[in-house]
């Protein structure tokens, strides 16, 4: 893509890094390749899109595998994960449902967002054509393109999003916000009259939070302690209950039987050190080795 402002910006950056490198022997000039890795934004007119294509049909298979666990088979959103479809004509409601279809003004944002940030647990892992295919499918879930549609770098900018004209430039002037240096208001006298506490559940941000829902996995015949069960639910369930990224599902006897052939020590080791899509300790390096092993025992017990 060619954009003078950007090019000048990069030049300045490159020049200044070069100067610093000379002076302090720090860093190294960014190569063209490195810059290309950062320069991934896509604009509504299609500027910045790499060459590629993908069909709704290919997108469906990829979506089911990589996105449906969180966003729902039809974009309806599992649990509290965001909805990607629906919500038409709700923007004026008391509780508007903002989705790709009901709210987003440009399809390019969808391509860019998926390319940049999704899947949530493995961002930037998708190939260019996969991003085209999945974007096409999310548009199809929103009934914006039909089942035969093939998305390419040339037709993406021609897609009209329903809420395209729902945005306007906010031309209100900035509010003056001068620093107070003397005779200031006593902070004690300032009263906070609204907080989000109690409205937005925040419990799930805590390691041991469970979204405020008092659920208990049925523990019939399982010897694991409640702490192990709870830690499984917080640290491993998201992939192992759903089969995300082809994680072996807890309870899938055949899948685990195959893995057991390598012996338990190897399984423990893979859970601790990580293997392919399985991050070391499921990404929770704060867990003790003992805890991870106990969770593995628990998973195996549920899968025999």
């Amino acid at each position: 893509m060619f954009n003078w402002r950007k090019v000048t910006g990069w030049l300045l950056l490159v020049l200044s890094t070069a100067a610093i490198a000379e002076q302090y022997n720090l860093g190294k000039p960014a190569s063209e390749k490195v810059i290309a890795g950062w320069d991934i934004d896509v604009r509504p007119d299609g500027l910045g899109l790499p060459k590629g294509s993908g069909s709704v049909e290919e997108g469906e298979a990829l979506y089911d595998q990589k996105c449906a666990n969180c966003h729902g088979s039809f974009g309806e959103g599992e649990g509290r994960w965001p909805k990607l479809a629906g919500g038409e004509d709700t923007l004026r409601d008391e509780r508007p449902e903002k989705t790709v279809g009901s709210y987003w003004p440009y399809a390019s944002t969808l391509w860019d967002y998926i390319h940049r940030a999704m899947p949530f647990n493995a961002p930037q892992s998708l190939a260019t054509d996969e991003v085209y295919a999945i974007t096409a499918y999310v548009l199809n879930l929103n009934e914006l393109v039909d089942g035969e549609f093939v998305l390419t770098q040339d037709n993406l900018a021609t897609i009209e999003m329903p809420n395209k004209n729902g945005f306007y430039v906010d031309n209100r002037p900035d509010v003056a916000n001068p620093r107070c240096m003397k005779n200031c208001k006593d902070p004690e006298s300032i009263k906070v009259i609204a907080t989000i506490a109690g409205i937005t559940p925040t419990d799930h941000f805590k390691h041991d939070g469970n979204d405020g829902v008092a659920y208990q996995e049925s523990a019939v015949g399982v010897t694991a302690t409640p702490e192990v069960v709870k830690t499984y639910q917080n640290a491993c369930k998201m992939c192992h209950d759903t089969g995300l990224n082809d994680a072996p599902k807890t309870g899938d006897v055949a899948a685990w039987q195959k893995r057991l052939n390598q012996g338990k020590p190897a399984i423990y080791n893979n859970a601790l050190k990580g293997i392919n899509g399985m991050p070391a300790k499921g990404g929770r390096t704060d867990l003790s080795d003992e805890m991870v092993k106990s969770i593995v025992d628990y998973m195996l017990e549920l899968s025999e």
Binding site: G72, S73, F74, E76
Partner: protein, 100 residues
């Protein structure tokens, strides 16, 4: 009304997920003018496979908007599954899907 369906076979079991687009108004909500919104909900959703009913649900006003349903039955790739729905205002929906 629109019905979205996915049906996938694995080891002889077809797992079906479907979503019926429906407002599912329970008749007790009020609009901006304070008028009650007329009750409008599904009454029945049915899925048939080779002449057999493999799913049958009776719906009332306690079910939320755009209901999502999932069920499984014995079948094979290439089989046809037909889903139909009716609501309390007599509107109907119909969709077929080939098992993948």
């Amino acid at each position: 009304m629109k019905i979205k369906i996915k049906a996938k076979e694995k080891d002889g079991i077809v797992k079906v997920k479907m979503l019926v687009k429906h407002p599912m108004e329970n008749g007790r909500r009020k609009d901006a003018q304070g008028e009650l919104i007329k009750v409008h909900h599904l009454t029945e959703v049915k899925a048939e496979h080779e002449g057999n009913v493999v799913f049958h649900g009776e719906f009332g006003m306690a079910v939320s908007k755009n209901p999502f349903m999932a069920f499984a039955f014995k079948g094979a790739k290439g089989d046809k599954l037909s889903v139909s729905s009716v609501d309390n205002q007599g509107l109907t929906g119909q969709a077929d899907v080939i098992v993948k």
